[in-house]
Symmetry: C2
Subunit: 396 residues, 2 copies
């Protein structure tokens, strides 16, 4: 009792983690059984146990951090299954998908905001919050279907990276426009750094690591490749975040650099799987826990929310799909649907808007709902659109 | 920049985790190369990057929580390698080790306190803080030497569990004595619950789980056994903490219950290894980060610190060794050394003393140093004492 009291905070935290994980996996099991994607079940588990419904667990700094570690290792594991050469082959198409997929929602969001009567700056931020795709959800769905090797999957992955850099550019421009101090030098240098970081890692990461293999093998601490992987994954995530792109981009590139090495190491894959299976549910549940259902109590806001969500889905889906229509309509729909989830990136942009005084709490709630809704819509669509697809170079 | 600012807190947290992990593994590598135990290197990495020396990372709620999850999964993985029957065979000896190993430090700490001129209540708390062994460190060393199957290893594991329950009893009695409200009913019920929890899990856990295997196999979410393991590990840790014993006891018992099942599942072991390899370094580094070297600026406190550490080491080592002297002097020394680390348990007791107003910050610093010092002394001793030992039932 006394011991329990002294460690109550720790115990409560362990209880929260237990509830989050167990709820996620129970809902995943239910959703699998009714033929729906497990990720949707896990996000809804977050809505259920979060503040909006049962209020068993509230989002905290700790749950946010563990969620962040979760999505970092998720993108790392996706990177592990991505060969740079294969990503290169779809480079041009991915770039086109990214560019159209940034312009359309930006224009759509801005236009909707103006029509609705929002101020210029608010409308700009609304559009910006709709720009960046969060690739975690799509990656999780395609990975669980064992389809990360498909050309369309690679286009989505590549486009999501370019999209993130473009999103950074848009955000920098829009923020400095709102603050009425457009510093072109700073914006240019930020984007140049981001491009340099991604390019360097993408092209030089794998050859460099492959050369280090004999040194890694000689390490006394073990399992050496797994430990080096963790250091690389965390280190590049931090570096990416400091440069200004999402941490998950760094984690993904760490995985890509290790992809060739990991191919022959079954234990490395199993150990990484252990990490992602523990940590990813916290990422998914955390998204769900952020939903504020109270938004629905105001009819005006409810209508705006639905319109924003509709525009967010339609603009990404149509623009990204059109970019790859040369591959056929099915591929176009696959890529379009894969780019729809906004996840945590839209929320971060909205938070910046709040901190700049441009966005108020009702508009923040709208963006929050749009982010979660686009994240929930994509998985069933992806499952349907990819049904029957086969990984062309599946191992074994 | 703007994006980086909005997510600065997240980024800083990721940076802290990266620094902790990388420092731990670098120091582990150095220590392995100079023939010293890796755990010592990882704890010293914490001292180095912590507030006392470089101040790169400060202990926070988040690092504490991740450290706690780390030690929980460490004890879970130790449990996985422990068959209940093998633990039963050493039951009586383990109980004797636990009883003597609780009484001697309690008496020694109390006596030293009185001789030093501390008040009655302070002396009692000092003794109580020296009671409980923290089995994590010993388990990590023996596991890295692949010696968890040895009879002496099992005695240490079994004794550490009984020791934790006895420590709970001592703490309950001492705390209520200090608060001058000895509630025998509450104390008896707390200890009875703890005993019932441990006994039930220990004897009924494995048979129950073995019966559930066909159901677990039918789960759609995967990898099913790993997911069930995580739920069980987190759930029983929380249950143990609510009852009043350490969370790691629950995690250990979850592992024991799954031991038989895990024997034939190589993937489950690899996935668990992935978790422990990521998380355990945070536990070790966190211990080191707690050291306050400023304690050494007061000569009186410095002397007391050294005496307390000496008594803490000597009483556990001699009392626990004597309890198994029938097995020979080498085994006695192995068990004695294995029971020496106090780790986080002593710190928790001291925190309770602070919250009751019995212990002040200088005495808290003393207990803190004793906890870390006993934790640092044990691994080299264990390596030397177990050198040349072979696991009698090592697989493969």
């Amino acid at each position: 009792m006394i011991l329990a009291a002294a460690t109550a905070h720790h115990t409560e935290m362990l209880l929260s983690l237990f509830l989050m994980f167990t709820a996620a996996k129970l809902m995943a099991e239910v959703f699998e059984r009714i033929g729906q994607p497990a990720v949707v079940g896990e996000i809804l588990a977050g809505v259920l146990i979060g503040p909006s419904v049962l209020a068993w667990v509230a989002p905290s700094e700790i749950t946010d951090t563990i969620a962040e570690i979760g999505v970092v290792f998720l993108l790392f594991s996706v990177g592990l299954e991505t060969q740079p050469a294969a990503l290169m082959r779809v480079g041009k198409l991915a770039a086109l998908v990214a560019v159209l997929g940034v312009l359309a929602p930006l224009a759509g969001g801005f236009g909707l905001g103006r029509v609705w009567g929002l101020a210029h700056a608010q409308s700009l931020f609304l559009g910006t919050a709709m720009v960046a795709t969060s690739v975690g959800i799509t990656a999780r769905v395609l990975s669980s279907m064992n389809l990360l090797g498909l050309p369309t999957s690679r286009i989505v992955l590549g486009a999501a990276i370019i999209d993130d850099i473009l999103g950074l550019l848009v955000l920098a421009v829009v923020s400095s426009m709102v603050a009425q101090a457009v510093n072109y030098v700073e914006i240019t240098s930020t984007v140049a750094m981001a491009l340099g970081f991604v390019g360097l890692l993408f092209f030089a990461g794998a050859p460099l690591l492959n050369r280090l293999v004999p040194k890694i093998t000689k390490l006394r601490v073990g399992p050496p490749f797994f430990l080096v992987s963790i250091v690389l994954c965390l280190g590049l995530s931090v570096a990416a975040a400091y440069i200004g792109v999402a941490a998950i981009i760094g984690a993904f590139l760490a995985g890509v650099a290790l992809a060739e090495i990991s191919e022959s190491r079954h234990d490395l894959r199993e150990q990484t799987k252990g990490l992602t299976e523990l940590l990813v549910p916290f990422f998914l549940v955390s998204i769900g826990m952020k939903v504020q259902l109270s938004v629905f109590t105001q009819p005006g806001i409810l209508l705006l929310t639905l319109l924003v969500t509709l525009v967010a889905v339609a603009t990404k889906f149509v623009a990204c799909g059109l970019a790859v229509k040369s591959l056929g309509w099915r591929a176009a729909a696959q890529v379009g649907a894969g780019m729809v989830p906004r996840g945590e990136v839209g929320i971060v942009v909205a938070q910046i808007g709040v901190s700049l005084g441009v966005i108020q709490s009702d508009l923040f709630g709208v963006v929050l709902f749009m982010s979660v809704a686009t994240t929930l819509i994509a998985p069933p669509a992806l499952r349907a659109l990819f049904a029957g697809s086969r990984n062309p170079d599946a191992p074994g």
